[in-house]
């Protein structure tokens, strides 16, 4: 397992993505809300210790819905299988904003300050996404060394990959990679964590998250694109 213990300054935090998380669409917050948001971001820079890790796996698609990685079988669903079809190798990753930020979020929640909670939640989501972008760059560097391209990352909970399958995904790692643990419902703690898979291969193409290839009419990404 390759692990990176990071500072928040190692990640590229995109404010426009935070505005999107806050429901602004293409608009920007007014001055007062922006001040509150910047104070949350400042706090995040003080306390946040993101971590990412990945492992490279041999594997193969067993059927339209199943994949086997390092002899562990997972049901990833037909949509993701389609995107991974051309892969010669796979990278499985975890990325987290870390326990410190999670504790900060919990503290705000307990205080009952829903406004700050909402802002801190949006910032936490962006931190987790930025950590995913970071680990994907590292995975792409590994892939390029082998002459491979990479797919987009795909995560349990999306595109028909059930979160329950996260148990199998985590069994590929040593216990609690980056301090992330699963609860009884197979959900991750710290909350602002992401796991997923990336396909690597000479024939893979990075297909944008498109709705044409996906039959899931109820997907929230489809809804937003509509």
């Amino acid at each position: 397992m390759t692990t990176f213990q990071l500072q928040l300054s190692d990640l590229e935090i995109n404010r426009e993505d935070i505005y999107l998380n806050l429901g602004y669409g293409g608009a920007e917050p007014d001055e007062h809300i922006n001040q509150l948001l910047e104070s949350v971001i400042d706090k995040a820079y003080q306390i946040c210790c993101p971590q990412v890790a990945y492992i490279l796996c041999d594997g193969k698609l067993l059927s339209q819905s199943y994949i086997e990685l390092n002899n562990i079988s997972m049901k990833i669903g037909s949509i993701i299988s389609g995107y991974l079809e051309q892969a010669d190798q796979y990278a499985v990753f975890v990325a987290t904003g870390g326990e410190e930020y999670d504790n900060y979020l919990q503290g705000i929640k307990l205080s009952g300050d829903i406004m700050t909670e909402f802002l801190a939640d949006a910032v936490g989501s962006e931190i987790a996404e930025a950590a995913v972008r970071y680990v994907n760059v590292k995975i792409e560097i590994e892939a390029l060394k082998m002459g491979y391209a990479i797919t987009k990352p795909y995560s349990p909970g999306y595109c028909g990959w059930n979160v329950r399958e996260q148990t199998q995904l985590f069994s590929l790692f040593p216990t609690q990679p980056c301090g992330i643990r699963l609860n009884d419902s197979c959900l991750m703690h710290p909350v602002k964590s992401v796991s997923g898979i990336v396909g690597m291969g000479s024939k893979v193409v990075e297909t944008p998250y498109g709705c044409d290839a996906c039959a899931m009419q109820t997907c929230y990404k489809r809804k937003h694109l509509a």
Binding site: L22, I114, F118, G157, Y158, G160, S185, M188
Partner: protein, 212 residues
Amino acid sequence: MADLNVLYESIVNGKLESAVAITKEAIAEGISPQVIINDYMIKGMEEMGQRFQEGRAYVPNLLMSARAMKGSLDLLKPLLKGDTSNSMGKVIIGTVKGDLHDIGKNLVASMLEGCGFEVINLGVDVSSEKFVEAIIEHDANILCMSALLTTTMVNMKEVIDAVEKAGLKDKVRIMIGGAPVNDKFSQQIGADGFSDNANSAVQLAKELMASN
């Protein structure tokens, strides 16, 4: 003398401190809590909701208003003890089993609370059993369920089945929300309604209470 129009403006503009200050003044002057709540605070929330619907305000603005509303309501609640005439209804709310996303659900909870509903927030990753127990314990009028994931939205159906099995389907109205759900899904699983934002959730809750 307390200028309650300032209270209205404070709720609309999300100014917690001034909302609390005027409310304290109004209480000290013996103004009826019902008048303060119904004629100024709820009207302020309704105005903000309208602005949101029209795209003139955003979620954080709604939250600022809800926070100001809550600050004032906390002062008024002790004066309403035993008086249920101000309660719009009792709501159980939670995110379904397998899903940890709670911020949208909390926003709906705050808006409902701000608009006069009594809200029992069960949190996230809530099992069918917990939902049913809470409905019974609190004699709830409305059950609100949230899910963000396409893979967990199906658990809403399990909760509705459990509510039905417990013989509560005719007693409680069921609303669902969350990014992946829509009206068609709501009908498929036997919910009474769906909303795609916190403001329309309040409107739907009012409609469901009126149709009870």
